[in-house]
């Protein structure tokens, strides 16, 4: 048998040689001092690298990694959160648009919006402005009501 190449000897050493060739290769190595020496050299290298390989990873490694991952969400999970937010977000937009149109119609009916502008873009913009103003007013009232509670709670914690 011809000398196997270094790649084939590596396959033999790491149990990757095709099953059909394994026996013939092993028989050759047993009879060939040159190939046996090459194979032995790889074995020695592997043994040398195995020394210390049993060294244990840091005992608190998991805790440290968990502390880091607690601060970030996986990319997929972040995408899923966006997907989940899309449904209520879309519903909120539709509701908002309906509210703006309703306000605009009422303003037109009450005569606040001049006749030629009723149902037009200007009428809708006026409706939007009134709606936004109403939301801001409600938000400000809620903040004023809740702020003292938050301030007191914050003082209590510190």
């Amino acid at each position: 048998m011809k000398h196997p190449s270094p790649s084939v000897l590596l396959e033999l050493q790491f149990d990757e040689a095709p099953a059909a060739d394994r026996e013939a290769l092993a028989a050759h190595v047993r009879q060939c001092p040159s190939c046996a020496a090459d194979l032995d050299e790889v074995r020695r290298l592997e043994s040398a690298l195995a020394v210390g390989a049993e060294e244990a990873p840091p005992a608190d490694g998991l805790e440290r990694v968990l502390a880091r991952v607690a601060l970030v969400q996986p990319i997929h999970a972040r995408r899923a959160e966006w997907a989940r937010a899309a449904v209520p977000g879309g519903a909120a937009l539709l509701t908002g648009w309906w509210a703006v149109r309703a306000v605009a119609d009422r303003l037109a009916a009450a005569g606040v919006v001049p006749g030629p502008f009723a149902g037009s873009l200007i009428g809708d913009l006026l409706g939007l402005s009134v709606s936004v103003f109403a939301v801001v007013c409600v938000g400000a009232l809620v903040t004023l009501a809740v702020a003292p509670v938050l301030i007191l709670e914050s003082h209590g914690r510190s």
Partner: protein
């Protein structure tokens, strides 16, 4: 005081989650440790830290062994292990089972972490010429004296570890990954991006280079 409380809470919650998970396992509940790598990674993508814990426990030791060999220093390997598993967590949702198994994917992340960190460190350290690395001995000057004959195991390991760090990364990686017995040449090909034939050739070149470096360290052939 408020800040400390806020920052420590997620960790405490996560650790508490682990304790609950252990309790559930003891009582015959769901056991992430028995799940496949693919199932665990899928759960990680959904933000499941129990699944991540199981995956970490499964791979921490072999991945740490590889990183320790690539880094050559325990402190560095510990740092890289953390970084690698943080990347596993972040990228869990990007793994495509059709393109390969989870195991080589995790090793690929670990090896890429090592490469990034090494290049970052190299950028901060003075340049080392090729003459100093011992690679000039690759071309036939390594001699026929077999590697590591007549030395005790501990001394062999020291010499090889020292010599390993004089090799370029692409040679060191293939030796460390294959000798860890965790990945086949085909799997290392998926990790490194080099074809299996090239990897075997690199391994052989690495053995010759290591032989030369060890001989030099032993004072043979000077």
């Amino acid at each position: 005081m408020t800040t400390t409380t806020t920052l420590t809470l997620p960790l405490a919650a996560l650790l508490a989650g682990r304790v609950e998970d252990d309790t559930a396992r003891a009582s015959g509940g769901p056991a992430p440790a028995a799940a496949t790598d693919e199932a665990l990674l899928q759960r990680c993508a959904g933000g499941d830290t129990d699944a991540f814990t199981a995956l970490y426990r499964r791979y921490e030791r072999p991945v740490f062994g590889v990183l320790l060999r690539l880094a050559g220093q325990r402190a560095l390997a510990e740092e890289w292990l953390q970084e690698a598993f943080t990347r596993v967590w972040l990228a869990a949702g990007t793994h495509d089972p059709a393109r390969g198994a989870v195991r080589p994917w995790i090793y690929a992340i670990a090896v890429n972490t090592a490469r990034t960190e090494l290049s970052r460190r190299r950028a901060r350290t003075p340049h080392v010429s090729i003459e100093e690395t011992g690679l000039e001995l690759l071309d036939g000057a390594a001699g026929e004296h077999p590697l590591l004959t007549g030395l005790d195991g501990r001394r062999q390991a020291e010499l090889v570890a020292q010599a390993l760090h004089t090799l370029p990364g692409y040679l060191r990686e293939v030796v460390v990954l294959r000798c860890s017995r965790e990945l086949s040449f085909a799997e290392i090909a998926a990790v490194t991006g080099a074809p299996p034939g090239t990897l075997k050739s690199r391994f052989h070149r690495a053995v010759i280079a290591l032989r030369a470096r060890v001989r030099r360290a032993q004072g043979i052939g000077r």
